[in-house]
Amino acid sequence: MKGLTTVFRKEVKENIRDRRALFNSLLLGPLLFPLLFVGMMWFLESAEKERAEKALELPVIGAEYAPSLIRFLEQQGTEIEPEPEDPEEMVRSQEVPVVIRILPEYPEKWAAGLPAPVEVISDPSRQESNAPIRRVKALLYGYGQQIGSLRLQLRGVSPQVASPVMVKDVDLSTPKSRAILAVIFLPYVLMITAFTGATHLAMDTTAGEKERKSLEPLLINPVPRWQIMTGKMITTTVFAMASLALTLVSFRIVLPYMPVGAFGMDLTLGLATLLNILLVISPVAILAAALLTLLASFAKSYREAQSYMGLVILIPMIPSLIFMANPIKAETWMMGIPLFSQNLLIGEIIRGESVAVGWLGLSVASTLAIGLILAAMAATLYNRPKLIFSGS
């Protein structure tokens, strides 16, 4: 085993001196992702605030037919704009998100106690118009309800007759479980970090070594090849773990500066939580190191290895993308699937729920088992002379 530790120490020493390794493993993930996260939160919050606080500007056609509706809208803080020339064109060209048209028969129907027609002209396929459309419709509906109640009262009927069902929201979510963005985003970031933290080293210690023509002389030394490869993979794993730990610490530092209140989020990553998350994700670092080393060993050069990595980096994204599209409830069998189980478990930890020890054990064991199988394959790969000499 002395050969293994020798390889490990040398790879650590060499890669600590490598700016590219430091940048990729220890800077990129830990710095970029938390900043991205905070930036995204600020952006979301300010967009939300702007939409909520901005006065609604509403061009109205035929305002003269419904003075009491117009008064109601103005009381609710709507700025009524004068009648536009071509309302359809205005909406289509996105000058305004929504226009209402009060039809000429409105007063007649109103007086007769029949539903009076109001058209809402809009293009709901445009994401940014949805909020104003919803506001306008809610206002019109509210006005209708109010007038309806009054009419019933005038006829001596209780307005409650018209509301046979009363719907009440009973909200059981804790502030933590509302941190939905974090629940999806943090596992996603950590999963990617495990891979990006390992990528450079996995390539540099295999394809890079081959490219620099130092692999053949290295293998002439009296050390079994599996020890050389394992020493390299342990270095890669250590760098991936360091990358993960730094990312978590950096999230911890950044969280207090986030606009928490706006989302009803109470997300503080205590030391215990951080260690828990690190424990859950560690097997992924081993899996990533083994998988990436295995793939990079086939490449003749760093550049060729890089072209494989572009595809591999999609793997850690898959579970997060699935959960984003279709949130599912965690079940025992899912703990057997690497990446999925970590995604679910980290989500639970952030939500503040206690994680079943059985689930944790199953997740760690299954991911570790697959990681070690891949590592064993990678360790014996250079027993094939073809791979040592390819490209030389």
């Binding site: 020798t6 020493k13 620099r212 692999l215 002379p385």
Partner: protein, 244 residues
């Protein structure tokens, strides 16, 4: 002492080594001379157990590379065709790494590096990172790391490739000193002058086979030529690869 008998190796349809037999004795420099692609590197790779032969027998001081690979690697010093160094490590760290891989302790590595720095004239750059080293400096470090464990048998693949005149002279001087210390040295080359200047015995390899084997004098007599170059051309039967 190296004994090679009836060695065969092919890659697909290409017969790289096709029945090679020769001996390399201790205290002698044996030159494998042949045009590019003659099978010299493949033969050496089988000697240092990186490639298994298809057929034939190799004995290095009685050991068989296919069976005693680890043991053989301990007794061999190899300067292969690929001699990449770790550019983020100093020359000393590069050599130390190989010493540690050979299981040597710190003190003996340091002592050995002191010695090699003197014989190979590396004092100027031993503690510099190898990034930007000249070809001559690289070869010296590659030789030093191959020799760190004081191997009895030394294999060198085209050692003077890319060296200038002064570096080549120094290298030849060093190889002769190895012979004088009783080592068995095999070097492969396609350069006539190198063989003439250095080798005690010459094994001419062409198309994967041994075309001739003997001292320079014996080869001249056998071919009836005046110069080694003419003898070489006559013995391999063509001028192919000579000018490369």
């Amino acid at each position: 002492m190296i004994e090679v008998k009836d060695l065969y190796k092919s890659f697909g349809d290409v017969k790289a080594v096709n029945g090679v037999t020769f001996q390399a004795r201790d205290g002698e420099i044996t030159g494998l001379l042949g045009p590019n692609g003659a099978g010299k590197t493949t033969t050496l790779r089988m000697l240092y157990s990186l490639l298994p032969p298809d057929q034939g027998q190799i004995r290095i001081d009685g050991l068989d590379p296919t069976r005693d690979a680890m043991e053989i690697k301990r007794t061999l010093g190899v300067v292969p065709d690929s001699r990449g160094l770790y550019s983020r490590l100093t020359a000393r760290e590069n050599i130390t790494y190989y010493g540690e891989l050979h299981g040597m302790d710190k003190a003996s590595i340091a002592k050995r590096i002191e010695h090699l720095t003197g014989t190979l004239d590396m004092a100027d750059f031993i503690d510099r990172r190898t990034e930007g080293f000249s070809q001559g400096q690289r070869v010296k470090v590659a030789i030093a790391r191959a020799m760190v464990h004081e191997p009895q048998t030394v294999l060198m693949d085209e050692p003077s490739n890319g060296l200038d005149v002064m570096s080549t002279r120094a290298l030849r001087h060093y190889i002769r000193s190895l012979r004088d210390d009783g080592h068995s040295v095999i070097l492969s080359t396609h350069i006539m002058q190198e063989v003439a200047a250095l080798c005690d015995r010459i094994v001419i390899i062409a198309k994967g086979e041994v075309a001739a084997d003997g001292t320079a004098q014996e080869l001249l007599e056998r071919s009836g030529c005046d110069s080694l170059e003419d003898a070489f051309v006559q013995l391999i039967g063509s001028e192919e690869g000579l000018l490369a």
